[in-house]
């Protein structure tokens, strides 16, 4: 029974666990419960990935109603891959995050916090797995509403305005997506993605369809924080509680990238998106702008969380750049970066959670001598930073390597240069951190003062994953490549 | 035909109350207008139900009447507290 119902259990288990969380009281129980649910999800995602690895597509008809009349879950390698990313990042973040959560969130609110966390998590899983266009919107809203609340829990009052800003922009984005879906429905009469894909070519010269594409693209870009629609992201990540930043940085934008890929490649089809519309050029331009401008903003940033948030916008640029090549190599690099960036950012934000735990802020001026005070934490930041730059033996290197290969393959030598310059800028801001941490003298009186073991353990788990997947690339590259081939319809 | 005339007459009356709600000038005029508007729309829905030969939609009209009452009270409750009365409201036009 379990294996055939795996797709629905993937979402229903956290969804069922969330309301139960409200009824629990003890912090330790809450934490353990959420962690178990999260790990369970990760295991299920792994099983799904295994089942779909050979190009097999699992279809699950909700309520027993065949698609397109009912809602269908349709799992292929891409879904399973993103599901695994979301579930494992969530598990790892929760694993190490208990101390940080309990420090930053009042005890009385903990049960609601974990409920919101699980709802957000379930929402993200739901977006990723569904094969129904409208269902995407419903789960998008579950995860968004929960994340507004989660972000607003930050201690700084600016967390409130950040959450409000995100709410407004997120709702505009979601409504744009709704308009896009509506117009798509209008010309085809169906909401099922697979069915849409088959019916859209018939109406491909309709202006309504083109408008629907424009609205969907802008709506998803808002959620994805694609440059210049990224304005909500830096504030949201900066002022959210540390663990929430780590979780969202590792998952939310990745799911948005997935939605973009799904709509471009599966629903509208390559033919329509790239031949009828100049999507490739648009994506490329936006990606270049994101890489250059967001990286530059990061250099001048004084708050380290915000620094990494800007770097996230830049990194999203790399993913979009990969998509714009419309080649197996390009898509492989995007998919790889999806996973790799999730690992990097989760690790970095977890490390920042350690810093936050000890000193209550993460301003550049206050991390002087941090390398001595918190050697392990700072070590994690340095390795994560190197990964961000793309130094060999880290995951960052792998995705950049494939991206450069794809650029060379496509004959865009300028883009190779841009990727390299982007990495150089990343090196600049990482170096700024290193300089502050290792070469500036901090407060002499404070001696060694490391973060709690559990937090460090979670952080280093992620850091080691950064290194492991930087060395042993067989799993990630293999999956990414076969997924890319599937998406482009190229037989391996 | 008669029903249609009634519907149109109600629509015009709705339009008039709407203008009152927009013009104000005081908040009480607006509340008055919204209340009158609610009653008109309830009647309008009743007539529409007959016009389209689906009078079982009267449930909706009933709900409107209910919601209208509650909203009016909700607004009035805030006046009672006095928190929201601005200076202009106390002055005659």
């Amino acid at each position: 029974m379990i294996s055939s119902h795996l797709p629905v259990l993937q979402v229903v288990v956290p969804l069922l666990a969330a309301p139960l969380c409200v009824l629990l009281k003890r912090p330790a129980v809450l934490w353990a419960f959420s962690l178990i649910v999260s790990i369970l999800s990760a295991v299920m995602a792994y099983l799904l990935l295994q089942q779909t690895a050979d190009g097999n597509i699992i279809s699950y008809a909700m309520g027993g109603w065949a698609a397109p009349w009912g809602i269908e879950y349709r799992v292929d390698t891409l879904n399973a891959y993103v599901l695994l990313i979301v579930a494992s990042i969530s598990s790892l973040v929760l694993l190490g995050g208990r101390k940080s959560i309990e420090k930053e969130i009042e005890t009385a609110r903990l049960s609601h916090f974990y409920t919101a966390y699980l709802l957000c998590f379930a929402g993200l899983l739901g977006i990723t797995i569904t094969g129904d266009a409208f269902n995407v919107f419903v789960f998008l809203e579950i995860s968004s509403i929960a994340s507004y609340a989660l972000i607003s829990l930050g201690r700084d009052r600016r967390a409130l305005t950040a959450a409000y800003q995100y709410l407004i922009m997120g709702t505009i984005g979601a409504t744009f997506i709704l308009i896009g879906i509506g117009m798509m429905y209008m010309v085809t009469g169906t909401l099922n993605m697979h069915d849409l894909a088959q019916r859209l070519p018939e109406v491909s010269n309709s202006r309504t369809l083109m408008t629907s594409f424009a609205f969907l693209f802008v709506g998803v870009s808002l959620k994805l924080a694609l440059f210049p629609l990224h304005l909500w992201l830096p504030n949201a990540y900066t002022y959210a509680p540390s663990i929430v930043s780590a979780f969202l940085a590792g998952t939310a934008t990745k799911v948005a990238v997935y939605v973009l890929m799904r709509f471009i490649f599966t629903v509208y089809g390559i033919e329509y998106a790239f031949t009828a519309l100049p999507l490739s050029a648009i994506l490329m331009l936006l990606a270049i702008a994101a890489i250059m401008l967001a990286s530059m903003s990061a250099v001048y940033e004084d708050n380290i969380k915000r620094l990494f948030a800007y770097s996230s916008v830049a990194q999203l640029g790399y993913m979009v750049l990969g998509i714009s090549f419309l080649s197996v190599a390009g898509l492989t690099s995007s998919l790889l970066h999806l996973f790799n960036h999730a690992l990097m950012k989760a690790a970095l934000f977890m490390a920042l959670a350690c810093v936050m735990y000890q000193q209550g802020n993460v301003l550049m001026g206050n991390i002087k001598g941090l390398g001595k005070r918190m050697p392990w934490t700072f070590g994690a930041i340095v390795i994560g930073g190197l990964s961000l730059v793309g130094v060999p033996l880290t995951v960052g290197f792998i995705s950049k390597w494939y991206l450069i290969l794809a650029a060379i393959e496509a004959g865009h030598m300028l883009l190779v240069a841009i990727v390299l310059v982007g990495s150089l800028i990343a090196l600049v801001y990482v170096w700024k951190l290193v300089e502050q941490g290792y070469f500036q003298e901090g407060d002499e009186k404070i001696t060694k003062q490391e973060a709690p073991m559990s937090l460090l353990l979670g952080t280093w788990f992620l850091v080691l994953a950064n290194i492991y997947f930087g060395i042993d690339t067989s799993l990630t590259v293999g999956v990414a490549e076969s997924t890319a081939q599937q998406l482009l319809g190229v037989s391996p | 035909m008669i029903l249609a005339t009634t519907a149109i007459a109600l629509l015009i009356a709705m339009m008039m109350t709407l203008i009152r709600a927009i013009l104000g000038p005081s908040i009480f005029d607006r509340v008055l207008a919204v209340n009158a508007f609610g009653t008109k729309i309830v009647l309008f829905l009743g007539v529409i139900g007959f016009l389209t030969e689906r009078p079982d939609f009267l449930d909706i009209a009933l709900l409107y009447a209910l919601i209208n009452f509650i909203t009016t009270l909700a607004i009035l409750r805030f006046f009672e507290s006095g928190v929201l009365i601005s200076h202009e409201d106390k002055e005659a036009e």
Binding site: - | A9, M14, N35, T39, F50, N68, K90
Partner: protein, 106 residues
């Protein structure tokens, strides 16, 4: 047959009268000079027009569940509309709207 015709005509008359009154009172709401007289127009319209129109519709529907529902709506309007009008007026008065300090109309 005859009876049916008469009932129909009565119903039409009520509907037409109701719509005429709703228009006049609408005009009153729009044109009367001050809040309290506007309130008078709206209040009368609510009860009288609603009564006429709904009774008109009830005559059309005959003795069915629909009539019962219509009657409920009417009851509802007759209960709530004067209540909220009264509450509104008394609140406005208490807040001192449109009156001078002695409580006389300005």
């Amino acid at each position: 047959m005859m009876l049916e015709l008469i009932v129909n005509y009565i119903s039409y008359a009520m509907l037409l009268l109701g719509s005429f009154l709703s228009l006049t009172f609408g005009l009153g709401l729009l044109r009367f000079p001050d809040f309290y007289s506007r309130m008078h127009a709206a209040g009368v319209a609510d009860t009288l027009c609603a009564g006429l129109i709904i009774f008109g519709l009830m005559l059309q529907a005959g003795l069915t569940l629909i009539s019962v529902k219509l009657f409920l709506i009417l009851l509802f309007i007759w209960f709530t509309s004067p209540t909220s009008s009264f509450t509104l007026a008394s609140t406005a008065y208490r807040c001192g709207y449109g009156t001078n300090d002695k409580g006389e109309q300005a």
